[in-house]
């Protein structure tokens, strides 16, 4: 929110948000849809796309809101107005999807309205303001975060489809096993650190 312009180049912002600091594996944001919708690759992909789109819209709106709030000197309204914007964006998307593709609407089900409380989306907006990105950087950040989320969902969904074929002990089946998988994937993603030269 301060006026310091972050000099990071756009591609580096993108790589950082999508791979190095992947939202799911490094910041633990959006874990609930990650655990809930990752049953099969198809619905995971659609959910990921929807979230990525909302992230992009929310980043742009959030950027504008934060500038306005700084202008009128009311930073304490930040959180409330951000959540209102996200809620209405999600509502618009819901109406749009319902009109254009009823089958997709049914496939996403409860997770569409629940995107309002997806912490990954609010997280994108909060992080980009914390780092003092410019407008283009904010867009790159939103895109990168969305891509990263989509990637994480697809990876874990693919793994879980394979998991149906094996026979793990009963106590670890379900959430616990998915969490271990996520931990291993998170270890793999740590291998990306250093690319882009970011933190």
């Amino acid at each position: 929110m301060d006026d310091v312009i972050n000099p990071e180049p756009l591609w580096s912002v993108f790589i950082n948000a999508s791979l190095v600091n992947n939202f799911v594996f490094a910041y633990f944001l959006g874990i609930c849809p990650f655990l809930g919708v990752s049953g099969n690759v198809k619905s995971a992909g659609r959910m990921g796309l929807a979230v990525a789109f909302v992230m992009l819209v929310a980043t742009v709106c959030g950027f504008a809101i934060q500038r306005v709030l700084v202008l009128i000197d009311a930073p304490y309204l930040n959180l409330i107005s951000l959540i209102a914007v996200i809620a209405s964006t999600v509502q618009l998307i819901e109406i749009f999807v319902k009109k254009t593709s009823p089958s997709l609407f049914r496939a996403l089900g409860i997770y569409l309205p629940l995107m309002t409380t997806n912490c990954a989306i609010l997280g994108v907006v909060l992080f980009q303001s914390g780092r003092g990105y410019g407008f283009l950087q904010a867009i790159a950040f939103g895109l990168g975060a969305g891509t990263g989320f989509l990637l994480a969902l697809l990876l874990i969904a693919g793994l879980r489809e394979r998991l149906d074929l094996v026979d793990p002990p009963d106590v670890v089946r379900g959430t616990a096993l998915t969490l271990v998988l996520a931990g291993i994937l998170s270890l793999c993603f740590m291998g990306f650190s250093g690319i882009g030269g970011g933190p």
């Binding site: 633990f28 930040n78 959180l79 959540i83 409860i110 629940l114 912490c119 670890v172 996520a182």
Partner: protein, 222 residues
């Protein structure tokens, strides 16, 4: 949302939230802060207390205004109430300790989208009188603190050989740095879940560790 399972032997909303329906270990709700800020016990405790106070305040408010909120606008209203209290808590933490505020970072404002808070407002406080709502929120808050502390203490102890910043395991201990990094959060939580389910199978511990899992995780977001 999962209260139906304990109607016959209702132990009161406080104990219910604290143990039987522990938000993290049984219902698997509010995962993001649990994993993200549990790398030290102090952070975990602070995050738990902040979330707990938001839970109690928003639970009380939602319960008080429940007759005046139209059904269509209820989620939006609840989120606004929660956002207001989160802003208050955010400034409160900032005034208590700026270091703590920095180490919790964006996860403090992210309490707004913690599905546990909205879930309790929607499932319990919007239908129950004030005192029961507060008791439920307090129970859930304490349960959340316990779970966070459980994770934070394990990760800090194994990761750096310390507990609340005090050296416990001596000089010779080589910390498992991975436990302080993101993967450690996933592994530790998985470990706790397995432990609790195994305990539930043996007849002890909070009931329904596996039953309520799908309900909790698949109906709430964030």
């Amino acid at each position: 949302m999962s209260r139906d399972s304990s109607v016959s032997s209702d132990p009161g909303p406080f104990v219910n939230g604290l143990w039987k329906q522990n938000p993290v270990l049984v219902q698997v709700l509010g995962m993001c802060p649990v994993l993200a800020v549990s790398n030290t016990a102090v952070n975990a405790l602070a995050m738990g207390l902040a979330t707990g106070s938001v839970l109690i305040l928003s639970g009380a408010t939602v319960s008080l205004i429940r007759h005046w909120v139209p059904a269509e606008a209820r989620i939006v209203t609840f989120i606004m109430v929660i956002a207001t209290f989160v802003t208050c808590v955010d400034y409160l933490v900032q005034s208590i300790s700026i270091d703590l505020h920095r180490s919790l970072g964006a996860f403090l404002p992210l309490i707004v989208v913690n599905c546990l808070v909205l879930g309790r407002a929607e499932a319990f406080a919007s239908q129950q009188p004030l005192l029961r709502s507060v008791a439920d929120a307090a129970g859930m808050g304490c349960g959340f603190v316990i779970a966070l502390l459980g994770l934070g203490m394990v990760r800090e102890l194994v990761g750096s050989g310390q507990l609340f910043g005090y050296d416990l395991l001596g000089e010779g201990f080589q910390g498992w740095t991975v436990m302080l990094l993101p993967p450690g959060g996933f592994f530790t939580l998985a470990g706790w879940l397995v432990l609790f389910r195994w305990w539930g199978r043996r007849g002890g511990g909070p009931s329904g560790a596996d039953r309520s899992r799908s309900k909790g995780a698949s109906t709430t977001d964030g």
